[in-house]
Symmetry: C2
Subunit: 95 residues, 2 copies
DNA sequence: CCTATATTTAGATAACTGTCTAATTAGATG
DNA sequence: CATCTAATTAGACAGTTATCTAAATATAGG
């Protein structure tokens, strides 16, 4: 429960954040995603693995191609951690 | 504009996230913060530096002691990046 | 000014990370 | 099955990071 450290580490990389951003509009294949970056495919594959390990994306094979999609459930956890923090500016102690 | 990569990298470390969490209720001295962790003071000082560099905390000297506080403005940026992402589950494309 | 307290800076080191090329797996198709 | 396409795994390497101990800085009080 609460966001895993893996999720925070995963979004610490700009390329991985961009991958997530690209997936906002729906699923994309590994190849199409990779085409948006100036990196080798193995490097992209590594980033996919980090994101999948953090449960930030879903993975589905369809024939030769693999489709990746956004998994927002973990993002919600990260989000709520952050909202708890960002909402603290009033210094109102909680609990 | 938009959250710096430094902020994302800063919150990727569990100890630093815990520091931020401790600061929710108001300022604390470097020593009091360090007392909450099983780490050397130089190590804690390093984490303070990373957080300050990302503009996630404020720093103020008062006599011998240094007070750290939460700076929520950068957190808001990180937050909005994440909300944009997490709110995308409907697949409604934006712009 | 000497000493005590609070904190940081310096320097070293082990572990981790992002990246690449080469090789491999998996599926489709002639 | 030979081969083409899509993607991953393996292995190497450079750069970064978290951590420590030792030393330095800064301030306060005799």
């Amino acid at each position: 429960m609460s966001a895993s450290n893996n999720a925070f580490k995963a979004i610490a990389d700009p390329a991985r954040r961009e991958i997530l951003r690209l997936l906002r509009s729906g699923e994309m294949t590994a190849g199409d995603l990779a085409a948006h970056f100036d990196m080798s495919k193995p490097t992209m594959s590594h980033h996919f693995a980090v994101l999948a390990d953090a449960d930030l994306i879903t993975r589905r094979r369809e024939g030769q191609t693999i489709w990746y999609g956004l998994n927002t459930t973990v993002l919600q956890d990260v989000l709520s951690w952050m909202m708890d923090l960002a909402g603290a500016e009033t210094k109102g102690r909680k609990k």
